[in-house]
Symmetry: none
Subunit: 223 residues, 4 copies
DNA sequence: TATGAATGAGCATTCATTCAT
DNA sequence: CATGAATGAATGCTCATTCAT
């Protein structure tokens, strides 16, 4: 594991190396189980230097989360062409998302797995990032509704739930794509579009799936 | 915290108390950050007794995961009436799922948040549980496809992806429902059905959403 | 150094041993320079046990200060017979003081040397103890003034300064007696009485030493 | 804190700055708790330079003690006019002492609080300084005895004890004056003279306070 | 059935100190 | 004259685990 010991690097370089290493370690083990020694060793440096540059384990963890969150949102944002139709924008966003998570699995693990399981300071970062993405998606959905001439569109709470569901599905598919050899980012994105778009469309068209009455033996609305 | 110190309980009762306590603690802090002392204190017992009954922290964590996973799958299974149509079965399964996660938030946290962030022995348990549920859903989808006379139905990999997406969306919505006051299990289930069923239906009907050609400026299939 | 390793002592006994050892170590090195390991080793026990029983180094240090301060004030108080004349009471108090500091040199070092050099929480304990003793002495002086029929006695600030001086002289003489072989507690007490009593008496009698005018070449009042 | 970063100073100047800073830091925290970084930062310089000029923390601490001790003894010596009567000399010495400790509280803290609480090398410096002052005072006392024609004067050991007591009282009063707003150096000196001179005088005059016989119920010699 | 006593191992963090530039 | 990079050693503290009772 331990990298070659390289001497006398400029601080900026070392800091990037440390963040890279920390993302690996934190992605694998989580913040609590990871040790500063592991990170230091992976960089090929001794522990005090990590503390000197990144101050504390919490600070290091936070820095990892921030960097990876910024990279992910930036990748999604950069993948989208603002001028194209809403479904196309969603498709592009999803492809960019799955491409990024496939290329940075440990960073994705830090965000999706580890950051949420530790106390508020960290989970809040994720909530913020997720909110940003969810808001982006929500806007797309509303725009799509407007494009289909259905003002004022679906109620906000319903959209909030849908965006949550979409985000959750996307996260799950990212893990699935990473764990299943042969599944490309494109396929993951297509799966999610297939899964979601028609449902969204039906909702926009005011043809929602109707839950049956609460009597468990009653016939369903769809049959 | 710290329960009243109760003396001389039968082992079976104590073990259940310990698992209950451990689920709380593990659900909040995660396996690594949790301490055996906390669990013991919550039960009102001393640490060596926890070791005597549950052997080790890892064993205790595993036992928690197993119990909660079994409870969740059992709850879903028990909520479904085998004779009714497929969409109805899915609806029932989702309602049971959200009902259970709402009633056992710490157990759900153990399964959804904590068990996946620790090494293989634990994540494998979750993978198994998830596979069971996914398989159940997949079967429902295939049955629905047969009911709609579309043999042989969609390709298996596509269905696997859809089931993953559905499971991810469900997990996310469970967290969302738990964190958002005023969202009932029924609403969460309806949101997910709305989100998913039409998409699934379209897929069954061989009307999938078609990804555009890779030229990012090409018009999309849906517009 | 390290004591014989004795197994399985009752907690109360171990705690006393730990305080004894800690007083030695802290008295020699001071709080910062002392290590928990040293204390543990001196007791013949491992470090975690010290933490288990006394919580933290700060808590241990505080406990030492409190115990030694209580022991010293108690020794002084117990040495005095309330019914006898004031000079006699002062004499008894001083003898008890020097006897105690001679018998517990490390405890005295903790109080006189170490506790005052660390932050407020500790210094405050010493200030409190010192205030108690100084107040006791002040009262004696005022009583002596009344006994000599000199109402209302000397001004309070002057007495405060005198008590400070007396306390400082006593502390210094305690160190001197401990460091100089052949100097008994009795001798130290007599030295201080000789040093102080006549001065106090003169003050009571309204015959203070008069500082000369500020001209440094002026003749002094005493010549 | 943190001074402005000033570049390229002559070594002698830098060394003085470092000693100034170190006296502050050591006076506040003590040798062990102080860090070289603090000192360096206070000077506006980086740590290796402090090592380059002052070699080690111990050396720096020693240098502080030596400088402050020399300054204090010099101040006392300079305040005294050799030709004047003994009590006047003592008065002048005390005034100079309290003036100096009031103007250099951190230096005084280093000498009175910190230097004595660390191992032998440092305490020895203080012992030496104290011995110098004590010897000076002792000589004054003996001279005063001769001036009063009482050869051969009091026994040396008694005088040694008295000088110790005087030094201790002086130290205590210096702290008291520094900590009590409104108490001037002059007042502190007067307090000590009042406290001590008459006692010394009585001793010279062969009218010592007589300790009572060891029977605690016996009447005292003074009543 | 349950606990008090004790420990071994690991970990974050700090800091004096060195060396190359 | 001065600093950036780096480390070795120590230290407070936590915690799972064991054992005797």
């Amino acid at each position: 594991m331990g990298a070659v010991r390289t001497r006398r690097m400029p601080r900026a370089v070392r800091e990037r190396q440390m963040l890279d290493a920390a993302v690996q370690i934190f992605g694998w083990r989580g913040c609590t189980a990871a040790s500063m020694d592991e990170t230091a060793e992976l960089v090929g440096v001794f522990k005090p230097l990590v503390h000197l540059y990144l101050n504390s384990k919490e600070a290091l963890f936070t820095a990892c989360i921030r960097r990876e969150a910024a990279a992910l949102t930036e990748a999604v944002r950069a993948g989208v062409h603002p001028g194209v139709p809403a479904d196309r924008q969603l498709w592009e966003a999803l492809r960019a998302f799955f491409r990024h998570t496939a290329r940075h699995p440990e960073g994705w693990a830090v965000l999706h797995l580890q950051a949420r399981t530790h106390g508020e300071p960290f989970a809040a970062e994720i909530v913020a990032m997720r909110a940003e993405i969810v808001e982006f998606v929500t806007r797309l959905i509303l725009v799509a509704a407007r494009e289909a001439h259905h003002d004022p569109g679906p109620p906000e709470r319903a959209v909030a739930g849908l965006a949550e569901a979409l985000a959750g599905a996307a996260g799950s598919l990212a893990d699935w794509a990473n764990a299943t050899p042969g599944v490309s980012a494109r396929q993951a994105a297509a799966t999610l579009m297939n899964f979601a778009w028609a449902g969204l469309g039906d909702l926009m068209e005011d043809r929602p799936w109707t839950p049956p009455a609460d009597d468990p033996t009653a016939p369903t609305a769809l049959t």
